[in-house]
């Protein structure tokens, strides 16, 4: 009996690893694939014959850094993304606090309105946004990118943070209030530390959206001054050189790596649990 059970336990563990391993491979295969494309010579990639022993080549690597201002694109991307996330947090945290904690007329309507901005197709506002930025003289600047990314992400960042705030026991704020803390103190010293996982989760998702944003970036960035990684990718698809697959693959990989590293680094914060131990139970 006992050994039987043990055996089936081992089998189910094996099965679990098999399924999870298979899933991981399925997700990672494209990444490995374009890494392999990016690190091979261009001629080898476009031959129709199968190649069993790939040749290693840094052609694409040299090309993107030397022939193209990839460093600048990377800096633009990072600046625009980080800036947009900061703008989002500065606006979303107080908004979420208000939506989750105070009772006033129309609160739920406002909450829904904020979310509904996410429901329309971005293309609808593309033209107005173009004219808006042109009139403000912000076309072709990373400031414009920052604002657009922030605007796109603001609604769901607010909602994620709000849902985390709703999970905080109200007694915690009551305690802080009787201890003599004002609203700002409560927000800063009690709420924000308690919802840090939520803030991090929302920020990471916002970053991923921003790094992949293409439509508005293309609209706003008309010269390499404001190009980001995602738009830079498009540069390798046309022109007299044809489609430069290995450069595309390498840039795509480079755009993937920072996000991947960020997610790995903060993985443990992505789970909830900081509010544990706050109240009885």
């Amino acid at each position: 009996m006992a050994s039987n059970r043990k055996k089936s336990r081992g089998e189910s563990l094996f099965l679990r690893y098999l399924i999870l391993g298979g899933w991981a491979l399925f997700c990672l295969a494209p990444v490995l694939w374009f890494l392999s494309i990016g690190l091979r010579p261009r001629t080898e990639i476009i031959t129709p014959q199968p190649i069993y022993i790939p040749t290693f080549s840094l052609d694409a690597w040299h090309m993107i850094w030397e022939d193209w201002p990839m460093g600048k694109y990377l800096r633009n991307s990072v600046a625009a993304i980080i800036g947009s996330v900061i703008i989002d947090l500065v606006l979303a945290i107080p908004a979420a606090y208000s939506l989750s904690r105070f009772e006033y007329k129309g609160r739920d309507d406002i909450g829904f309105y904020i979310l509904s901005t996410r429901m329309m197709a971005p293309a609808i506002v593309a033209v107005p946004i173009f004219f808006l930025f042109r009139n403000m003289g912000l076309l072709d600047t990373i400031w414009a990118l920052m604002l657009v990314y922030a605007a796109i992400n603001l609604s769901f960042v607010t909602w994620i943070i709000r849902s985390y705030m709703l999970d905080i026991p109200k007694e915690l704020e009551d305690a802080a209030r009787t201890d003599g803390a004002g609203e700002i103190r409560i927000l800063w010293e009690i709420i924000i530390p308690a919802i840090l996982p939520g803030i991090i989760t929302a920020s990471v998702i916002a970053m991923i959206f921003a790094i992949n944003e293409f439509l508005f970036t293309l609209l706003i960035a008309s010269t390499p001054d404001a190009y980001t990684m995602s738009v830079a990718l498009a540069n390798f698809t046309g022109g007299s050189d044809g489609v430069i697959y290995n450069a595309i693959a390498l840039v795509a990989f480079l755009a993937f790596v920072p996000v991947f590293l960020v997610v790995v680094a903060i993985q443990k914060h992505l789970s909830r649990g900081l509010t544990m131990g706050a109240v009885k139970g």
């Binding site: 007694e171 305690a175 201890d179 803390a181 010293e189 009690i190 530390p193």
Partner: protein
């Protein structure tokens, strides 16, 4: 350091009355204990005193000043929350220190005050832990320490010892009483524990369904309950309540006959007698004639359950008392300690 008056306080949620017609005048330096079954409005009343909940009607005064519109942070009360409400991201040390920082206590005093409060609740060894790394009882003591770390106008304590073992509870009870006496701080305290209520309170407030049933000193509550609810709620085991009829000063029920009751009431009444006012008797003239239904020796006292008719009556018998089940037994009631209540509304008649 403050007198608290609650005048005609009402708290409603929709059509549901959380608290109703509450009138209490808590004297300066007084220790008042709220006692009542779960959901009777103890926490709600306390939260209204703290300023965390607004009454729909009525006035809350502190030292004569109406406090209804004063924010919780400006009321200078310290509260122990029923659910502890420790700040999860802060260490126990920082939790206890938080009110000192918020209330502008000079920085150089913080360390001493925090350690003193932690010492009183025996948590000195746990100061650098996070609340999540403490047991339930330790968390509760941390919450208590956070309240007693400074000297507020009022202490509000919502079941602050409910999660401690008997020994620690006794020790903390002594500490709380000592601190309250030494600092002379008006205290409102909620508990389910009668011993806590009897030992700590200057006055006890008994609540039921949002309404106050009786306010009085522990002796008054025990000796002069105003109705069957209070009579039944205080005392362990609770007072025996026997339905029967009263005529000409004689009460009669199945197996029970009590003479010489000084009351002009006739008809259906409820007779109350505490288990500790009953004695096993040899006389067939005794008030209660029944059979032994159960016997629980506890060491210092033996609890005897007597069956009379379909009624079970608790008796606190001598610790050496032993009897077989189902044998006949006679019990005498202390004639000076018999209560008579109205059968309809439970109000005390005599």
């Amino acid at each position: 350091m403050a007198r608290i008056e609650l005048n005609n306080i009402q708290k409603k949620w929709g059509a549901f009355w959380g608290v109703r017609d509450v009138n209490i005048d808590i004297k300066d330096e007084e220790f008042v204990v709220f006692l009542g079954p779960s959901g009777c409005g103890k926490t709600t009343t306390m939260r209204m005193i703290a300023g965390l909940e607004e009454p729909n009607e009525g006035e809350i005064k502190m030292d004569g000043e109406v406090m209804n519109d004063i924010d919780a942070r400006d009321r200078d009360v310290a509260m122990v929350f029923q659910g502890y409400a420790l700040y999860p991201n802060m260490s126990i040390y920082e939790n206890i220190r938080f009110p000192l920082r918020m209330r502008g206590v000079p920085k150089d005093q913080h360390d001493g005050l925090v350690k003193k409060a932690a010492g009183l609740v025996e948590l000195t060894d746990y100061l650098d832990r996070k609340p999540s790394a403490l047991s339930g009882g330790q968390r509760q003591r941390a919450a208590l320490a956070r309240a007693i770390v400074r000297e507020p106008q009022v202490f509000l304590m919502d079941e602050p010892l409910s999660n401690l073992d008997a020994k620690l509870r006794q020790a903390m009870r002594v500490q709380i009483k000592h601190i309250q006496r030494a600092l002379k701080i008006t205290t409102v305290y909620v508990t389910h524990d009668q011993i806590e209520a009897m030992t700590l309170a200057d006055r006890i407030v008994i609540m039921q369904s949002g309404m106050i049933q009786q306010i009085g000193t522990p002796d008054e509550i025990y000796n002069d309950p105003t109705n069957t609810f209070v009579a039944n709620f205080i005392g362990s085991p609770p007072m025996n309540l026997i339905e029967g009829t009263l005529s000409d000063g004689t009460f009669v029920a199945d197996g029970v006959r009590v003479t010489g009751i000084e009351s002009t009431t006739e008809g259906k009444v409820t007779l109350g007698v505490r288990p500790e006012d009953c004695t096993v008797s040899a006389s067939t003239e005794a008030e209660l004639n029944g059979t032994v239904y159960g016997l629980e020796p506890t060491g210092d006292v033996t609890y005897l359950t007597v069956k009379a008719g379909d009624k079970l009556i608790e008796v606190k018998a001598d610790r050496t008392y032993r009897a077989d089940l189902d044998v006949p037994v006679q019990v005498a009631f202390d004639p000076d300690r018999i209560y008579v209540f109205d059968s309809e509304d439970g109000k005390r008649i005599q």
